[in-house]
């Protein structure tokens, strides 16, 4: 396997810069060369696929009503949902990307981990239980609760679909490249495989299958990462200081890896990034949807508690793995060789970070090889693939629900659609999204798509989150305020991101960016809230008055769960 590794010619060079360049990228960018077929990994991945298809078959027989399809019948426990949320959130690139960032820059990786995590307590304190008490299947149920259905649901569906599409493109391209690299499969084969499997899980097994795919993947990822961190710490007799000392001695940046580097420079960028990470989490449609799979507000709260624990633990592990990677990749092995570097350092010189085979995002994978041998390397590769598959399935279900439940059932059929038709529309949409994402995955193969996850987060934070939050907390909001404010957030997020350095300069190749910041979060989020406020308070229409009067009943239900959707009977 080590010999096979060295056959990778073109490194994932661009991916080393993936997280910093885009503020919070999630995809694998840059060109990769196909690796020799990795049989251990393929066998283990096939075992995962068989298991999940078995679960899909089991789930399909239990999925009859719309509630089963969208919300797994509402019968998932808080602990299971916590694992599934963690599964939805811990993507392959947050594993490979953050470990890679720690490997190349040390402390800076921790800044990202922290940013990805701190949105969760806010979701719990302000959103989870109210969302559970008010909604049924999608967050638009809550956002449109006392408002005109057509405009709010249309806007929410646009926000959901935009978030899901950009996220999906990044995941599909990442999947294709990663699989090419880890398994030695063709890019096209990899993308089609991901698309077909995800269509299978979602159309046949609905939310029940998707949830269990997430749970299995989360358990695999957490146990694999735990094993790696354990083995790394064991090398240093469980003394972190010894590990840090070894890393500082061998890393070309020396002591600088123990303090913040160039990642965050000015306070505006820092706060903007922080806001987008924090509030984007609270506006991701596939995450919000998970709160309808549990029976009540109590379980919804528990799920966030468990999810925060698992995700936080996982980020601590990736930090240890990143430092382990420094020590294991940059130092010679027992035979004095450097099996994970393209070329050994000259005598007396330090090894070059970027010389790692496959690029810095492969750091965690090489570390798996170093601590657990070929079999464990195969396992971690399979876990990385399973991770992408699970995230993609969750996203697709959220996109399909926005179309079938919000656009078809509420906007198009005005609430008169029957359940079976709604499920049928959802399944057709799933197939369409699957095919579209294969096509987009192929179309964007050679593009740098890393900024798209950033875009997804900023849209979620600027369009979905403000409408959702204000609809639950502010009695004076009206349809007009929500639609105009939300649209303002959606449009400004996209426009400012395109005019900013990540797209205008890096992707479109212009000499200088028109908008100076990588992350427009601070501006687009504030614009959205300001728009909602201004266009609501100036709205004195008859319908606006009625919407304000309806707030009290919504408020009581959101607080007490009076009249909330329960779990289904079976």
């Amino acid at each position: 396997m080590r010999a096979a590794n060295s056959r990778i010619v073109a490194a994932l060079a661009a991916t080393g810069a993936l997280v910093p360049a885009t503020s919070f990228a999630d995809a694998i960018g840059g060109a990769v060369a196909k690796q020799a077929t990795n049989y251990e990994a393929i066998v283990m991945f096939l075992a995962f696929v068989l298991l999940t298809l078995g679960i899909t078959f089991w789930a399909a027989r239990r999925t009859k009503s719309a509630k089963d399809f969208y919300a797994a019948g509402g019968g998932i426990t808080g602990f299971q949902n916590g694992l599934a949320i963690a599964g939805d959130y811990m993507s392959a690139a947050s594993f490979l990307g953050i470990a890679g960032l720690v490997y190349s820059s040390g402390f800076d990786g921790l800044i990202y981990s922290v940013g990805w995590l701190v949105g969760w307590p806010i979701v719990l304190f302000l959103i989870a239980e109210r969302l559970r008490n008010l909604g049924k299947y999608t967050f638009a149920d809550v956002a449109s609760y006392r408002f005109q259905q057509t405009p709010i649901r249309t806007l929410s569906a646009c926000g959901s679909l935009a978030t899901v599409t950009f996220y999906l493109i990044a995941q599909m391209v990442g999947a294709g490249k990663l699989i090419q690299l880890l398994f030695g499969l063709d890019y096209l084969v990899a993308v089609i495989l991901v698309g077909v499997l995800m269509i299978g899980y979602v159309t046949f097994g609905g939310m029940l299958a998707t949830t269990w795919v997430q749970i299995i993947k989360a358990v695999m990822l957490l146990s694999g990462a735990s094993f790696m961190a354990f083995m790394i710490l064991a090398k240093f007799s469980f003394n972190p200081e010894a590990m840090f000392q070894a890393a500082v001695n061998i890393h070309p940046k020396g002591l600088a890896i123990m303090s913040p580097g160039a990642l965050v420079t000015d306070p505006v960028s820092a706060i903007s990034l922080g806001m987008a990470l924090m509030f984007g989490t609270a506006g991701l449609p596939h995450i919000l949807m998970r709160f309808f799979t549990v029976s009540d507000a109590k379980e919804a709260r528990k799920s966030v508690f468990y999810a925060t624990g698992f995700i936080g633990y996982f980020y601590i592990l990736t930090f240890i793995i990143g430092f382990g990677a420094i020590v294991l990749i940059l130092a010679p092995d027992a035979n004095g060789a450097y099996p994970f570097l393209k070329e050994a350092p000259l005598a007396g010189a330090k090894a070059v970070i970027a010389n790692v085979i496959g690029g810095t995002n492969m750091a965690a994978i090489h570390t798996a090889n170093a601590v657990g041998g070929n079999l464990f390397y195969g396992f971690i590769s399979a876990v990385a693939f399973a991770t992408i598959l699970a995230v993609v399935a969750g996203l697709t279900l959220a996109g399909a629900s926005a179309v079938s439940h919000d656009l078809y059932a509420s906007v198009f059929a005005k609430g008169r659609a029957n359940e079976q038709d709604e499920i049928r529309v959802s399944k057709i949409t799933t197939v369409v999204i699957g095919i579209v994402s294969i096509v987009l995955g192929v179309a964007f193969e050679n593009q740098n798509v890393a900024f798209m996850v950033g875009l997804a987060f900023v849209i979620a934070a600027s369009a979905n989150f403000p409408i959702l939050l204000m609809s639950m907390f502010w009695g004076k909001m009206t349809t007009r305020g929500a639609v105009l404010g939300g649209s303002l957030g959606l449009i400004s997020a996209i426009v400012l991101l395109v005019l900013g350095p990540t797209v205008w300069k890096a992707v479109l190749g212009n000499p200088a960016a028109i908008f100076p910041y990588d992350n427009p979060g601070l501006f687009s989020i504030l614009l959205s809230f300001a728009g909602i406020w201004f266009f609501s308070i100036t709205d004195n229409s008859e319908s606006a008055q009625a919407e304000r009067r309806a707030f009290e009943a919504q408020y009581v239900r959101s607080q007490t769960g009076l009249g909330a959707e329960g779990a289904s009977a079976h």
Binding site: L110, P240, T560
Partner: protein
């Protein structure tokens, strides 16, 4: 407004639940925001401090502070869930019970 909604709004226990739970949720939210943005501002302005070794070794103050931020997120959710699923849910149950 339905009769039940009106009865809940008029129930002093409901007002008490809202007052206590909101105050608690906002306090914890602000605590999280202060911890996180405190960390981010330290990263932006206090690089020197975060990069200072704690003792004679190489481990800097940044490491425990970063880990503390992660662990604090988990602890804050635990504190909230513990009180909300106990004290607040009991109060909520009584409010709904009184409708019958």
């Amino acid at each position: 407004m339905s009769k039940n909604t009106q009865r809940i709004v008029n129930n002093p226990k409901f007002q008490e639940l809202i007052a206590r739970r909101s105050a608690f949720a906002w306090t914890l939210s602000i605590a999280m925001l202060v911890i996180y943005f405190g960390f981010i501002l330290l990263v932006a302005f206090g690089k020197g401090f975060l990069g200072t070794p704690i003792g004679a070794g190489v481990t800097t103050w940044g490491i425990p502070i970063g880990l503390f931020t992660i662990v604090s997120a988990f602890i804050l959710t635990g504190i909230y869930v513990n009180r909300a699923n106990g004290e607040f849910d009991e109060l909520n149950r009584q409010i709904l019970e009184e409708l019958k």
